[in-house]
């Protein structure tokens, strides 16, 4: 393919399957991405040839596994332009990463009267942990509102900032609307009042180059499964000076220096935050996914997805009665919409019958739905394996559904 587009659907085995004789058209990458064969093969090979525990064994199998496991940490650090591999913590996913920051940093540094600023367009994973902590310590939560396009209103954000602000937690990209938030600007203002900046990067990481230092993110959280890697592993990047001051999140094996019944001392970061046997093979799979991402090229992925977004926006806007929810000027390839008189769940089920997989519902972002006055939306979210033909099929099926309900 020429122009702005990649041609990588063939790398993803599941995208070559059919449902009832119709090729699968996968438009739910914001929920989870599909996996390229290279990741599946790497994990399979590792289980067959090299599997052993990590950071414990004194035999060669474990030494090899540990090398591969720690190798992913270096790949993640490079991908994010982190200062050091010690800033990369393995978790089970973005949700656990955000909980880790909220519990560990929150319990150590938040007190009664302090304020945590969130945005109106957060995923529940970046709302609920903060509510739980705030309630416990007596801190307050403030919300940056968004405009009708789904863009955060920075002039309102400025008014919320004060010396009481201790944490600003926002997403890099909204999962429901696709809005790309101006993190560098948000972080700059937060740092002026001495707050730390926590970025939910679940929807940012595999769609554009991410440089945590340029963004000014003190913490950046994401999941492997949304970036072509396996489920069960996520990353928390944290600035080392902050991680060093933070208490453990979970206790167990491998995160300790010495345990006695009188007193236990803990490892330095990142191991202080990694209790128990981790998702070894999944971490290896994530490393393989990062290699894949880099071989395709994040700039090329961003170009591909932007071209598809523009194509899809024009196509869907031409359907009478279709309302796009989320029309930010800076937007990732997420097309949230409603169709007059047809519930998003009916749209979702009927599209499935055409072989098209989309998400329908509140997208774990109920405050976002409330802001736009809808109980739910249908959402087509794109990845680098999608094509204009996928969007043509979506538009054609939507017209057919409209006909059924007319």
């Amino acid at each position: 393919m020429s122009g702005p587009y990649l041609d990588i659907k063939k790398d993803f085995p599941v995208l070559n399957r059919e449902f009832d004789g119709k090729p699968l058209i996968y438009l739910d990458t914001a929920a989870t991405s599909q996996k390229p064969a290279i990741v599946l093969d790497a994990m399979d090979r590792f289980y067959r040839e090299s599997y052993g525990t990590v950071r414990r064994g004194v035999y060669r199998l474990s030494e090899k596994a540990t090398q591969a496991y720690e190798g992913t940490r270096r790949k993640v650090a490079r991908l994010l332009n982190a200062n050091s591999v010690k800033e990369i913590i393995y978790t089970r996913g973005a949700t656990e990463s955000l909980n880790l920051v909220a519990y560990s940093y929150g319990h150590a540094f938040l007190k009664a009267g302090d304020e945590v600023i969130l945005s109106q367009i957060e995923h529940h994973a970046n709302i609920v942990p903060w509510q739980l902590i705030a309630e416990g310590v007596g801190a307050r939560i403030k919300i940056i509102p968004c405009n009708d396009r789904g863009e955060l209103m920075l002039e309102e954000y400025r008014k919320l900032l004060s010396p009481r602000t201790k944490v600003v937690a926002v997403n890099h990209v909204s999962n429901a609307l696709g809005t790309i938030n101006p993190i560098a600007e948000i972080a700059g203002l937060a740092h002026e009042v001495g707050a730390v900046v926590v970025v939910d990067g679940a929807q940012g990481i595999s769609h554009m180059p991410v440089d945590v230092q340029a963004l000014g993110a003190d913490f950046y959280a994401f999941s492997s499964h949304k970036m072509f890697g396996p489920t069960g592993v996520g990353i928390l990047y944290g600035r080392y000076e902050l991680l060093e001051k933070m208490p453990p999140f979970m206790g167990g094996g491998d995160m300790i220096r010495q345990v006695t019944f009188e007193k236990t001392t803990f490892q330095d970061p990142p191991h202080r935050f990694e209790a128990g046997t981790p998702s070894i093979v999944e971490v290896l799979g994530l490393g393989s996914a990062i290699e894949y991402l880099e071989s395709v090229g994040l700039n090329r992925i961003a170009t591909h997805e932007h071209a598809l977004l523009e194509y899809g926006t024009e196509l869907l806007s031409g359907i009478p009665g279709l309302r796009l929810i989320g029309t930010a000027e800076k937007k990732a390839a997420v097309l949230g919409f409603t169709l007059d008189g047809i519930h998003p769940h009916d749209i979702g089920t009927l599209l499935d019958m055409e072989g098209i997989a989309i998400r329908a519902g509140h997208h774990c972002a109920q405050p976002t739905m409330e802001r736009f006055g809808v109980p739910a939306t249908a959402r087509a979210s794109l990845g680098p394996y999608n094509t204009e033909a996928d969007l043509d099929a979506l538009a054609k099926a939507l017209l057919k559904i409209k006909g059924m309900f007319a």
Binding site: D20, I342, H343, P344, H345, D346, T349, L350, D352, M353, E354, A360, G361, H362, M369, P375, A376, K400, M404, F405
Partner: protein
């Protein structure tokens, strides 16, 4: 769209477009509001039970997807005039059918037109849509004010 025709048949689309018994029921003896938090469906079912324990009249109001609305419409139509015991039995059969535990083509049943919903069994996420009105009715008869599919 063979499967689609099975679930989204003309009858269901028609009941979605022109729901029967979609009105308040001032003389209701029982009412319950059903909520499906997953999709935001809200349906209130009203029932008037007479002295001998028959469902003299039924109605519903609210918002929801085509499946939940058509299910409420067909349920209220089918149960009007029926004894309460029969309504509970039908709920049991309906629930088993949409879960895939009762094949209405091979097992004797009283489902009648409600068989239209058997395609729901292919979509476990939609079972709650199809049963919302039924849960609300059962809640009403059990004297609850609210019920939820969760």
């Amino acid at each position: 769209m063979s499967q689609a025709n099975e679930l989204y048949q003309q009858v269901i689309l028609d009941h979605n477009r022109n729901p029967r018994n979609y009105r308040p029921l001032p003389e209701a003896t029982h009412a319950c509001h059903g909520h499906n938090p997953l999709c935001g469906d809200n349906i209130t079912v009203f029932a008037k039970v007479d002295a001998s324990g028959n469902l003299e009249d039924l109605s519903f109001q609210g918002n929801g997807c085509a499946i939940s609305k058509a299910s409420a419409s067909l349920m209220t139509s089918q149960l009007k005039g029926k004894p309460l015991a029969e309504a509970r039995q039908l709920f049991g059969e309906f629930h088993e059918m949409v879960k895939g535990d009762l094949n209405p083509e091979t097992t004797p049943n009283h489902l009648g037109k409600l068989k239209l919903f058997q395609g729901v069994k292919e979509y476990s996420s939609r079972i709650k849509c199809a049963t919302l009105a039924w849960h609300a009715l059962m809640g009403a008869l059990d004297r609850q004010e609210n019920t939820s599919t969760e």
